[in-house]
């Protein structure tokens, strides 16, 4: 035994200690991995020994290796051994290793429970301390459960050192084992008044963290914390408390008013930046919760914001901006300064702020400053960011803030001088957008674009990958399309046909060629009639004939095709010109017709013309042609048998490829024999240019790295001045034309819904208007307002789908019958953005119809009208399922006292409404009917009839279908989101009457259950805690309906409250029905 000890100790003398290991690793930089693997082998040997000192040394080294990223999980048991050593030296190392290496899935943690318990109750406070520290890192739910009591006892330890640690670790224990919170909380609260400030601040820490997770339950502690806040001078504690108040104020607005004063005091008195920042943040939260703005307080924020580090200041400002835009707007200069900051994240934050800050007044100024930054900015990514921001800022909410589009165009033109930007297409699309939509600006835009084309060499520059040349695409198109505004179309035409154009990307060349033709037409029209100019017209034709061959040779198919077409056309025109035939009109007719902007939603509004079925096959789908397929498919038919649509495709491409190859061969042979064919080679341009004559000898363009000011381009800056003048004048005019103005304003208000700018902006009338809503709809658009419905609405889709399925099943049973169908539908109206979801359970009446071929199929949508709580819109989709033509449909409903079909004036109460269309076979169309409903408390069934004439080839029969419309109470409910605090207030108000419902044997999971109620009955979940949820909905007449749904083993209990007991009872019955059906 003695010998063994001797051996162990001697070994230990020669062992590496941690320092040796570190030194060794530093000396083996080249083969570190190899060195470490030998070290690990040594450590494994050391761990096998009985000597605890050796083991501790080994574990210490392992901890170091673990940090370097080596896996040491295999030594977990040895770590536990070292932890359980009775000597503090080793215990300390053991716990350190454990805290670094163990995590929740480490299985040996189970073994440590008793050891830790022993250490916790050790008489040595440092033993207890290490155990607590270690535990804080690797506490698991099991450990937390087993040790919670021991730690709780330690909270009242005599030594503050232990108390402090015990209090802090309780937080971890609560997280892992929430049940411990209830018994431990009173003691934790006591610690808030502990004589030791360290323990006290630990307790504040823990309670504040707990409270931040779930502020509601800690509201009652607010007075205590308020006193602490006013008395404590420990900044760490203060920060915690202030943060807690930030979380509490949204729940208790009264608290906010009380807080403002002490917080402002702190803001002015404290010298610690971190505390200042926390105060400012909380003040912001308070101001947000107090909906009324307090200008004097926001002033104090502004003072403090200036001193805070830029980044955090900007962060805070973006919070203020959301609620108090005005107080931030005055810091515009400060924010613009931040654009000069070295740190990109600061600059980007500042840009974000600018986006929210612009108004009609300051837009020009801000953009001007940004333009300066664009010039200065180094680094293309940041410059690109600036560029996109400028465009974003200007174009936001439909150019809302732009008052002068000439200015905007010149800004865009200035932006084209940026070198190497990726956003050429962005600028181009803006140019096109503005030129097309703002009619008044076209003349100016065209002039600008013409100069741009003329100076194209400046844009294309020396690099081919230069993205800015995209702008030329827009320029060429605008010049061509609106060529009537051009002053000198001939010179623009000449500019567009320069040989250098051939170096541009293909899609731009194509636009060039096409628009050259448009310009040609304009030139002809301008010059014909004056006999002296006839020669000019002919020269123009000659110019085109000379230059177009360059494009005919283009490698780009689009360019080639267009060029050769136009070349032939021009040649023909030339012939006519030589015969003195007036051609201008006919050429102009080629490009006649004005282009109108179209709103993105316009297509939806065009009704499908009668007789057009978009789903019908134009040709019969190709049937499987076996003989061919089997010959070509090596894998056999079985694999592809089900993928009919797929396997037809590859077959065609195969053919194509073969043929293509053949054609290519033929073409190559042809080309080889053709002496005139110039193969694609870099010299091809030269070949052409040589043949053209002196005036087209390419002139070397000087590419200057410094962007030149393009002559004749007005600078955007001028507009700032002009705009000022204009506004002044406007102001003067305004007084005179007060009446007229008012009318204008009304119009503007309508066009710009949601204009949230300051009121003073109303004074600034834009110089140009964007034509959007008024003109961008096609003539035959349906005057419906359903364009707001969300096409991606999952409810809508799924419900349709489901109902259709039901329908099919029924169809099988009863072939001849009429179906009334309802599907969910979303509708938004302008006043509020609440979506109205209405669904209605269909009522199907099997009815024998005399004519066996007729089967109408209709779907129905019921929309409540929010503006008028008593109106319901039913849209019915009729589909003709039979082979005959259906016409003269009349829709009639037998009115009840409560619900009436709204009929046109002069019609009697029993007259039917004519459906305004006829239905050819297989066609469907939609009609809307408005019902006025007085009381929405009761569900309602309305009987109705649809009469129609079925017309077959030789005869026509009059037919009738009966149906029932079922207005359930649910369908009067609107899914309305509700915040939990508003919800709580609503329940507290006591205006609501309660009722309850119990459902047995519901086996579906709770979230399915909730989803079902939300979906079928238009509720929204306010809050969900475990197997308990509160839900809310509102009726079209503004009744509140609140549900509390609880579930416990297959029993669901619903407690409901509503200010209208009748409605509530019916809704509950309907919910019950929904669950009995499943």
């Amino acid at each position: 035994m003695a010998l063994k000890i001797v051996k162990g100790s001697i070994d230990r003398m020669f062992d590496k200690n941690l320092q040796d290991l570190v030194r060794g690793i530093r000396n083996h930089k080249e083969d570190e991995a190899k060195y470490i693997s030998t070290c690990i082998d040594e450590i494994k040997q050391e761990l096998k020994q009985d000597n605890i000192a050796v083991k501790a040394n080994a574990v210490c080294k392992l901890t170091y290796l673990q940090m370097l990223g080596y896996d040491v999980s295999w030594a977990a048991f040895n770590i536990v051994e070292v932890m359980s050593s009775s000597k503090f030296t080793y215990k300390r190392i053991g716990y350190l290793a454990a805290s670094q290496c163990f995590h929740e899935s480490t299985d040996v943690i189970m073994l440590t429970t008793n050891q830790i318990r022993k250490d916790l109750s050790s008489p040595n406070q440092y033993d207890t301390g290490v155990a607590l520290t270690g535990l804080s890192c690797f506490v698991t739910p099991d450990l937390a459960r087993d040790l919670a009591n021991d730690i709780m006892t330690l909270m009242s330890h005599t030594k503050p050192y232990i108390r402090k640690k015990a209090v802090l670790i309780m937080y971890k224990v609560f997280l892992k084992y929430p049940e411990s919170l209830r018994p431990a909380f009173p003691r934790l609260k006591e610690k808030l008044e502990d004589p030791d400030p360290g323990v006290q601040s630990a307790a504040v820490n823990v309670i504040c963290e707990l409270a931040r997770r779930n502020p509601k339950n800690y509201l009652s502690l607010a007075p205590l914390f308020f006193k602490l806040m006013t008395s404590s001078t420990n900044n760490w504690v203060l920060i915690k408390i202030i943060k807690l108040f930030g979380a509490l104020t949204p729940l208790e607005p009264r608290l906010g008013k009380k807080l403002i004063e002490p917080l402002t005091n702190l803001i002015h008195s404290t010298s610690a930046m971190s505390l200042l920042y926390e105060c400012v943040n909380t003040v912001i939260a308070v101001l947000i919760s107090l909906s009324s703005g307090m200008p004097n307080h926001s002033a104090s924020i502004q003072v403090s914001l200036r001193s805070i580090q830029h980044y955090l200041g900007l962060l805070a400002m973006s919070k203020i901006l959301k609620t108090h835009p005005k107080s931030v707007q005055s810091h515009k200069d400060l924010i613009l300064q931040c654009l000069d900051d070295k740190d990109e994240s600061i600059r980007l934050r500042a840009l974000d702020l600018l986006y929210g800050m612009v108004s009609k007044k300051n837009l020009m100024e801000i953009v001007k400053k940004l333009m300066l930054h664009v010039d200065k900015a180094e680094g293309t990514t940041y410059r690109d960011e600036l560029l996109t921001k400028i465009i974003d800022i200007c174009s936001q909410s439909n150019y809302q803030y732009i008052t002068n589009f000439e200015w905007y165009i010149s800004i865009l033109v200035e932006l084209t001088r940026l070198e190497g930007t990726r956003h050429g297409h962005l600028i181009a699309s803006q140019m096109l957008d503005v030129a097309i939509r703002v009619k008044a600006i076209r003349a100016f835009a065209v002039a600008q674009m013409a100069t741009l084309l003329d100076n194209a060499h400046l844009l294309t520059g020396n690099t081919q990958r230069n993205g800015i040349c995209e702008v030329l695409y827009a320029a060429a198109w605008i010049c061509g399309e609106f060529s009537e505004h051009l002053e000198d179309p001939l010179s623009t035409l000449e500019a567009m046909l320069r040989p250098k154009v051939a170096t541009l990307p293909g899609h731009i060349q194509a636009v060039y060629v096409q628009n050259a033709a448009k310009l040609f037409a304009t030139v002809l029209r301008g010059q014909e009639g004056a006999p002296a100019d006839r020669t000019v017209a002919q020269e123009t034709s000659q110019l085109l004939i000379d230059r177009l061959p360059l494009f005919v040779q283009s490698a780009n198919l689009e360019v080639q095709e267009r060029a050769s077409c136009i070349l032939q056309l021009v040649k023909y025109i030339q012939k006519l010109q030589q015969k003195d035939v007036e051609v201008a009109e006919e050429v102009t007719a080629l490009f006649a017709g004005e282009l109108n902007p179209v709103a993105p939603k316009a297509q939806k509004k065009v009704p499908v013309p009668e007789g057009l079925d978009l789903d019908a096959w134009i040709n019969e789908p190709p049937s499987e042609s076996e003989s061919e397929d089997e010959g070509r498919k090596p894998k056999g038919k079985a694999v592809f048998a089900k993928e009919e649509s797929k396997h037809t495709k590859p077959r065609y491409t195969e053919v194509d490829e073969k043929e293509l190859a053949k054609r290519r061969e033929v073409r190559k042979a042809e080309q080889a024999n053709n002496p005139f064919y110039i193969k694609a080679s870099p010299s091809s341009q030269k070949v052409y240019q040589d043949g053209v004559g002196v005036e087209h000898i390419p002139v070397v363009q000087i590419d200057l790295s410094v962007p030149l000011k393009v002559p004749g381009m007005p600078m955007s800056d001028q507009y700032v001045k002009l705009e000022e003048e204009r506004r002044q004048k406007d102001k003067a005019d305004k007084k005179k034309k007060d009446k007229k103005k008012r009318r204008e304003k009304g119009e503007k208000g309508r066009r710009r819904k949601g204009d949230s700018g300051p009121e003073s902006e109303e004074d600034i009338t834009p110089a140009h208007m964007v034509d959007i809503t008024t003109e961008e709809m096609p003539e035959n658009a349906l005057p419906s307002d359903d364009d707001e419905k969300d096409p991606n609405d999952p409810h809508k889709k799924s419900s349709k789908h489901k109902k259709k399925k039901q329908k099919k099943e029924k169809e099988e049973k009863e072939k001849k019958k009429k179906k009334k169908h309802h599907h969910h539908h979303h509708h938004s109206d302008g006043a509020g953005d609440e979506s109205v979801q209405n669904g209605n359970v269909e009522e199907e009446e099997p009815l024998p119809v005399s004519n066996q071929s007729s089967s109408i199929y209709s779907m129905c949508d019921i929309q409540g009208n929010l503006q008028d709580g008593s109106q319901v819109v039913v849209s019915v989709i009729f589909e003709n399922k039979c082979d005959s033509f259906i016409k003269a449909m009349e829709f009639n409903v037998l009115d009840s006292l409560n619900s009436k079909l709204q009929r046109p004036e002069g019609a009697g109460p029993h007259d039917g409404l004519t459906v305004p269309f006829q239905l050819p076979p297989g066609i469907s169309n939609e009609a809307r009917f408005v019902f006025s409903v007085q009381s929405i408390v009761m569900p309602q069934k309305l009987k109705g009839t649809l009469t129609f004439i079925v017309k077959t080839d030789d005869s026509s029969t009059h037919e009738k279908l009966d149906f029932k419309l079922h207005f359930t109470c649910t369908s009067y409910l609107i899914t309305t989101p509700c915040y939990s605090d508003a919800y709580a207030k609503l329940l507290e108000s006591g205006d609501l009457k309660g009722s309850s419902l119990k459902l047995e044997g519901v086996s579906q999971p709770f979230h399915h259950l909730l989803a079902r109620i939300c979906f079928h009955h238009h509720f929204s979940v306010v809050e969900r805690i475990g197997s308990c949820a509160s839900m809310y909905s509102r009726s079209i007449q503004g009744h509140h309906v609140c549900l509390l749904v609880k579930t416990a083993d297959q029993t669901v209990s619903i407690d409901a409250k509503c200010d209208e007991p009748g409605l509530l009872g019916n809704v509950l019955d309907e919910i019950k029905l929904t669950f009995s059906q499943c």
């Binding site: 300390r92 890192c137 802090l168 404590s232 971190s274």
Partner: protein
């Protein structure tokens, strides 16, 4: 690498003021708190104030790491690798805070060492910066003009100091004096245990 960090201590944080000035909070505060129902969110929402602390060199070598959230080794490695790269790529004049994934990263460079903390979204960046600074001050006091090598060769001591200062991601002791006193006493305990243990003694030859 041997450049003392202390030099940077005086220069850094111009506005930093000692935070631990304990006042008189002894007033008895009476509060009628009725314990009702306290709910801590589900497991997934649990977050700790400070998520982790990393110390790494300019070369990107990790010198110290402390994790206050349970993560697997693989995740830890990935996070620290990504983060070290991100921070080293930043220029010296740049802001000390950055948003990274859903965390806020607060870092500061002292001589050749980067001190980096990850905190939750709602936390105060400036106080985190002060925590870093306080830790550096503690190291400096303990080692006496601390440099990177001190931390490399005595990494366990650096951990012990950190553990006395922060517990479970929360600052447990705001007084420097108290932290150092605790460490010194624990060290004393360790030496007492070690001192009489010469080799000869161990085999019973004395």
């Amino acid at each position: 690498m041997c450049q003392p960090i202390k030099k940077y201590l005086t220069a850094s944080l111009p506005n930093a003021h000692p935070l631990h000035t304990y006042g008189s909070v002894r007033k008895r505060v009476k509060c009628s708190f009725i314990y009702t129902y306290i709910h801590i969110g589900s497991e997934s929402t649990i977050k700790i104030k400070m998520q982790f602390m990393l110390l790494f060199s300019r070369q990107g070598k990790l010198r110290l790491q402390k994790w206050y959230v349970p993560l697997s080794d693989k995740e830890r490695k990935k996070i620290s690798r990504d983060l070290v790269q991100t921070i080293l790529a930043r220029k010296p004049k740049m802001c000390s805070f950055l948003e990274w994934r859903d965390l806020k990263i607060v870092y500061k460079r002292y001589a050749s060492l980067y001190f980096c903390c990850a905190v939750e979204d709602q936390d105060n960046e400036l106080i985190t910066l002060e925590i870093i600074h306080r830790y550096v001050e503690l190291l400096d006091k303990y080692f006496g003009s601390v440099c990177e090598l001190d931390i490399i060769f005595n990494f366990e001591k650096a951990y012990f100091i950190l553990d006395e200062f922060l517990l479970g991601g929360e600052a447990q002791e705001t007084s420097k004096k108290n932290v150092l006193k605790a460490i010194e006493q624990a060290d004393l305990l360790q030496e007492e245990a070690e001192a009489p243990r010469s080799v000869l003694e161990e085999i019973g030859l004395t």
